[in-house]
Homo-oligomer: 366 residues x 2
């Protein structure tokens, strides 16, 4: 455990995120107590070996040093205030997806001393599954975790939370709440809306023309994967950041209209220029959020036969080469594709050679 | 070789698609000749063992039975006409991404007898790479291949092309050209535009706020993968179907605005309803275009450590279970994720058991 890390953590709300944090904190050597008003969720976290159960919020947080409120968005403010009032030495943070409202609400309701001890937060992680059964310490590993200080938050409180974030393997990223909400509207909420809207358009059309879906290839599948996300969860996330999400829709619609205008004008060079700049920006992203630099992305065309994936992954595994990311990339307009295998830059040459020895035509994308 | 399959194929244009078709046709027992005005592309196809080179279009197609024009879109019509005129018994098809214009142009320029022998086509496949070096017979395997008869195309010609399509392992799907262009505008061209527009919005914003990209998680990455496609190729595809692509943009923008209105009204139930219906439609798609029914999708949470992919794929491979599709699915708003492993329905129980025995908590998504 790094110096300055609180020795004890209270987790209020033991769903997917709360239990994942508890598991990672335990693995880092912290004592972890937990509480959830839903006895089943609490027992689920206990069954996972994530924490010791407490009988209520006050029992959970008393003497803990730091508490994290991982509750549904509409319960975060009241729960955070209850925690702040239960123990005068407790630093409190939360894990909600929008931050402006909760920072303002806690600041409005808390006294000077309480407000100093609250740090709003948002670990940029999750899963398409929910509940303590789906929790995993690895969910936090290497992910960005935004922290938003309020107007009266103390620097000491911020340091305590940053220390917890690092202890569970995540990367603290400090910014003000309004900025967080604006950025996630574009980079997280807009993709969800774009995906759901596209799937909706296709589903409505396919109701009359079922052949449409026979033509759906890899590109469409990539774009609509997010549309399978949890409806209730996303409705609440979006409603908590509705104004900024609508701003993001407007910016996106402008960008779509600009492409439509280029199609109308038939200006091939201008169209190619937009496509080229977007392509460059996408390739610059790298393959993995937590490994932006120092990775190589290899493209391996794959025939549709058993054992190819095992062969590729085992070949690299046998050499001790860690696969940072892997995807079956369907082509821009096709059903077939390649494996994109992301490895550390230092392993790239060895990986290419080993796969070539096995008969794969490996290309290098980045 | 199935009865009725032409014994000889001429491939005019030996890039990615032409060479892939040649490889698949050779594997199916056809004689294959090829020509490309670019000597390097032709030699590349020869080096791949895909075909015998011919000195020109006429030498390539003479006596072939069937010719496929896999040329850039602006050369398809003239090349198809040259083929039709080079051999009075030849059936000619093409592989372009838009069909209305080429059907009309060939029909306008061809006489009755020539027009009877032309069948427009579009194999719904491709790769993010190009050229004969990236070709693969597996690119055709199981993919939908749209065939569009013109007003004077003979039924016998259509049957010859259908037979070729089946011989190379693809699925013929007959529809009129206008309908093809309308459907691909929605299911193929719109996703490309949606992806490029999203990447553009983010890149422009990130120029002023670089932290934006640190928050980019799996969802954003899924949505923007297509933005890395070939700019010139896509400019030409979209310009050849510009009117319908713009119609698709309009429908999509309407759908986005409807979501924006729901956010404005704050109608949580209506928002959840839209999300729920899109989720259901996405899950109905299954994981693989050519395997829509009879597959199971398993979700396997993965820790970020070497060897996990090899372990999962080898465990299934050792049991002879074919992995139909596999993706590392980053969460809706996070960097971490699960493996989604698609297997045949009949293997699903065995796969779940085997992975559970290895300590994985396997969920079933579909």
């Amino acid at each position: 455990m790094a110096e300055g890390t609180p020795g004890s953590l209270a987790v209020v709300g033991t769903g997917l995120i709360g239990t994942s944090i508890a598991l990672a904190a335990r693995a880092a050597g912290l004592d972890v107590r937990g509480f959830d008003p839903d006895p089943e969720a609490l027992q689920g976290a206990v069954d996972r070996g994530a924490l010791e159960p407490a009988a209520g919020v006050e029992a959970c947080v008393a003497g803990a040093g730091i508490a994290i409120v991982a509750a549904p968005m509409d319960h975060v403010t009241e729960t955070a205030l209850a925690c702040l009032r239960a123990d005068p030495d407790l630093v409190v943070t939360d894990a909600g997806s929008a931050k402006t409202d909760v920072v303002a609400a806690v600041d409005a309701a808390a006294n000077e001393e309480e407000a100093a001890r609250f740090v709003a937060g948002h670990p940029m992680t999750g899963s398409e599954r929910s509940g303590p059964g789906a929790a995993s310490a690895s969910l936090l590993d290497g992910t960005a975790w935004v922290l938003c200080a309020g107007p009266r938050t103390s620097a000491a409180s911020l340091e305590v939370v940053e220390s917890l974030v690092r202890a569970v393997g995540a990367q603290p990223l400090t910014m003000d709440a309004e900025r967080h909400d604006r950025l996630v509207a574009l980079i997280s909420h807009l993709p969800q809306l774009a995906s759901t809207a596209l799937m909706r358009v296709a589903a409505v059309r396919a109701a009359g023309e079922p052949e449409l879906m026979l033509l759906a290839a890899g590109g469409f599948r990539d774009l609509t994967r997010l549309a399978a996300s949890n409806p209730e969860l996303w409705a609440d996330i979006l409603l908590a950041n509705a104004g900024r999400a609508r701003d993001a829709i407007d910016v996106y619609v402008d960008s779509l209209h600009q492409l439509g205008e280029l199609l109308k004008s038939g200006d091939r060079d201008a169209l190619i220029d937009v496509f080229r700049r977007s392509k460059e920006a996408r390739l610059e992203m790298g393959a993995k959020p937590s490994a932006k630099v120092g990775v190589a992305i290899l493209s391996v065309p794959i025939p549709d036969r058993p054992g190819v994936l095992a062969d590729v992954t085992s070949t690299l595994g046998a050499l001790g080469i860690n696969i940072e990311d892997l995807e079956i990339v369907h082509s821009a307009e096709g059903a077939k594709g390649s494996l994109h295998v992301t490895v550390e830059e230092g392993s790239a040459e060895e990986a290419v050679r080993a796969l070539a020895d096995r008969g794969y035509e490996v290309g290098r994308l980045a």
